[in-house]
Symmetry: C2
Subunit: 430 residues, 2 copies
């Protein structure tokens, strides 16, 4: 038996794309770990009728659980609690204990903004203490409490109401899951297993062909494994999900993928190339020299906690003068080969190794566009050089498709893979 | 009269969050410019029943236009065209002209991947030439053609079928809009006007209070202007949308906001702080010295085309040794005040000015966490220093909330505002 869920993301700022929704996917992942199938994410603005229509739609599709995010704030357009109460057929009432709790939370906050009128702040937040009767209240992580609202009758969904800010939502999720209402709603969720394979350096159509071969060999049981593939930041991701009875089928599919893509399959345990590079850098000291990526490569590496143990630093030598002064790249070399050339990339790597006293360096120089391209070196032409202080080196140059942002982003992915292969002592096969 | 639309985003990789949907918001913005109201975005996986349910839901909500993105690829889980055809009551048939067109597109592509079996590639892509009868075909930007599928009967929506890759979708959008079917569907869309106000340095509850005051003053006409507010990257965004008859009402609301937030309202014309800083940097030369942001500030500035005209470069001095060697920060100063201190920030700015021969510098040093915090300097404590070569200087230190990623991201926003105020010759009011 399978338990299905839907997620309703509210907020005109999300609907219109000014704010990216990060809650839908996150909640979906948590549900998946609980064996619950996410069927739909729906996004609406701050119009209550649209939100109610989405709740009805999801109920009509037979989902057992609906999770909403957003619309719990102090402003008048934050209406989620009231809409959910109406949908579940429950009255709204002021919860005095919750009101006192919010007041206690606001006290230190108001000290940070001494110019504010405390009465106005309390009034703005009192509405956050008005909650559906019969719901389990979830303690606020910010100032907005959430709720798990049970259905009035069997066959209707249980609604989990959570705030929009991802950090608050994450913090309140375990309490929501722990409620008796939620556990009742997901009783009967089946066990699923999952695995992700990551491949770098092939087009997506190649994976489609591999899966066709697997289907030819395995016949109908192939369909017992749910497989999706997608291209992400230049990597092909293959995600599989199956019930325990289909384990042998998946094992064979994974084997076929591993055989056909032996040289390009780099992750079978969910690890990102970023995880692998971080692991490989343990005990080493990395220096970066960036031109077109302009700090993105450093930012991507330093995004991980603990990066200070192996990232010495980066030199973003965007102007030619900076390449000469900060990285010691020979002016004559720049003149002869150009600032975007394999020669410049290697000289930048050498400069980074020396100036940052590091044992590993990665240099990236390229033409991110939209201007600056020539016939010989068009927009998208990028040169990478990964080098160790012992002289070992992997270098590549190629022209990447896409716009400025895409070229810069994919250049960091390519750089990660070059670094990974250098650190593993591999040759780069592309 | 208003014309409403819905967007259906397909793909298990989007539903599960492995790939972020960028199409929904983009299409929503295009529709808004055409005077069409976006009511719903719905996201489903690759299960055709779920997609069909979403199409029925949107039709039931009375939308005139549905735009789908994704599911046009060569793999077996790409089923959008077939689902839309069934929903619109139309047969699918192979379009020989389209098939020939795809083959011509694939020819040069196959040369890039010489190991591929050309027959397999053509077979994988033939299905992309099977299209709903009676639809307007949209020429592919990649290899997948799109379609505008008119309804079989009045009162049903017109469905625009577009591919998932954003670049392809963007490229094909004008052709979709130009079709007679689309124009018929959106006939009657009313004129809307819009404006965005951006404010930095106040909590969102302050704007809620301002809007309450405006409502008190204006009474019922206040409701004629649709206003949403949200916090984004530390800035408060207020977005308004109104029909021409409500112009005076909006003018008064904007005036009230401008009066109450005179010192913190920084944008009334839609410009981002990034736009304003780029403009202010014209003719100048900027050097960055980054520690906790680790290249993010540089990457954010260099994301804009033409940044090479004013960004000299950046030094990501993550390790203390790098601060000394690359930025010339005095070791004794680091020892006395710590690497995260106003003194270190100013020394880093001085070093960046000198080493990159720039006339403007911004330095950021902080504790992004999760480790490294102390009682005196907790996780989130960040110091900024913006300095000009003529000695003018704005510096701030504060403790920011959030996790590592949020602290680093907001530190760049704060840095942008500090830079903006320095370049405008303003004092920082916070």
């Amino acid at each position: 038996m399978s338990v299905r869920a839907g997620i309703v993301v509210t907020g005109t700022e999300v609907l219109t794309g000014r704010v990216r929704d990060r809650n839908g996917p996150w909640v979906g992942e948590q549900l998946s770990e609980l064996g619950v199938d996410l069927a739909h994410i729906t996004i609406c603005g701050d119009r209550p009728e649209d939100m109610e229509a989405q709740l009805r739609f999801l109920a009509g599709e037979g989902v057992e659980v609906i999770v909403t995010s957003g619309g719990l704030g102090p402003t008048a357009d934050d209406l989620t609690m009231a809409v959910v109460a109406r949908f579940c057929g429950r009255e709204m009432r002021l919860d005095a204990a919750v009101e006192a709790r919010i007041a206690a939370i606001l006290e230190p906050l108001m000290k940070r903004w001494p110019d504010l009128d405390p009465e106005a702040v309390l009034a703005a937040n009192r509405k956050q203490a008005i909650l559906p009767e019969g719901a389990s209240v979830l303690d606020p992580a910010g100032t907005a409490p959430g709720a798990v609202v049970p259905p009035q009758s069997d066959g209707k969904p249980t609604v989990v109401v959570l705030p929009g800010p991802p950090r608050e939502l994450h913090q309140m999720w375990p309490a929501a899951v722990a409620t008796a209402e939620f556990q009742r709603a997901i009783a009967g969720a089946g066990e699923y297993r999952g695995q992700m394979l990551r491949i770098f350096g092939i087009p997506e159509s190649e994976i489609a062909e591999t899966l066709r071969l697997a289907e030819d060999e395995l016949g109908p049981p192939f369909a017992e494994v749910e497989i999706t593939t997608c291209l992400r930041r230049g990597e092909v991701e293959l995600v599989a999900r199956w019930q325990p009875a289909a384990q042998a089928t998946w094992d064979r599919i994974a084997e076929i993928v591993g055989e056909r893509h032996a040289r390009t399959l780099f992750s079978t345990d969910g690890s990102l190339v970023d995880d692998q590079v971080a692991e490989l850098l343990t005990g080493r000291s990395l220096a970066l020299a960036e031109s077109c990526t302009g700090g993105l490569m450093a930012a991507r590496l330093i995004d991980r906690p603990g990066a200070s143990a192996y990232v010495a630093g980066a030199i973003v030598a965007y102007a030619d003068a900076a390449k000469r002064e900060l990285l010691g790249v020979d002016g004559a070399l720049l003149e002869r080969h150009g600032a975007v050339s394999p020669e410049a990339a290697e000289a930048m790597a050498d400069g980074a190794l020396e100036r940052l006293a590091a044992d590993t360096a990665l240099a990236i120089t390229g033409i991110a566009g939209p201007g600056g391209g020539t016939e010989e070196k068009p927009v998208g032409y990028v040169c990478w050089c990964a080098k160790r202080s012992d002289g070992a080196l992997l270098a590549r140059s190629m022209t990447m498709p896409g716009n400025r942002t895409e070229i810069r982003d994919r250049s960091t992915t390519f750089g990660m893979h070059l670094l990974r292969r250098l650190l593993r002592g591999e040759e780069f096969p592309l």
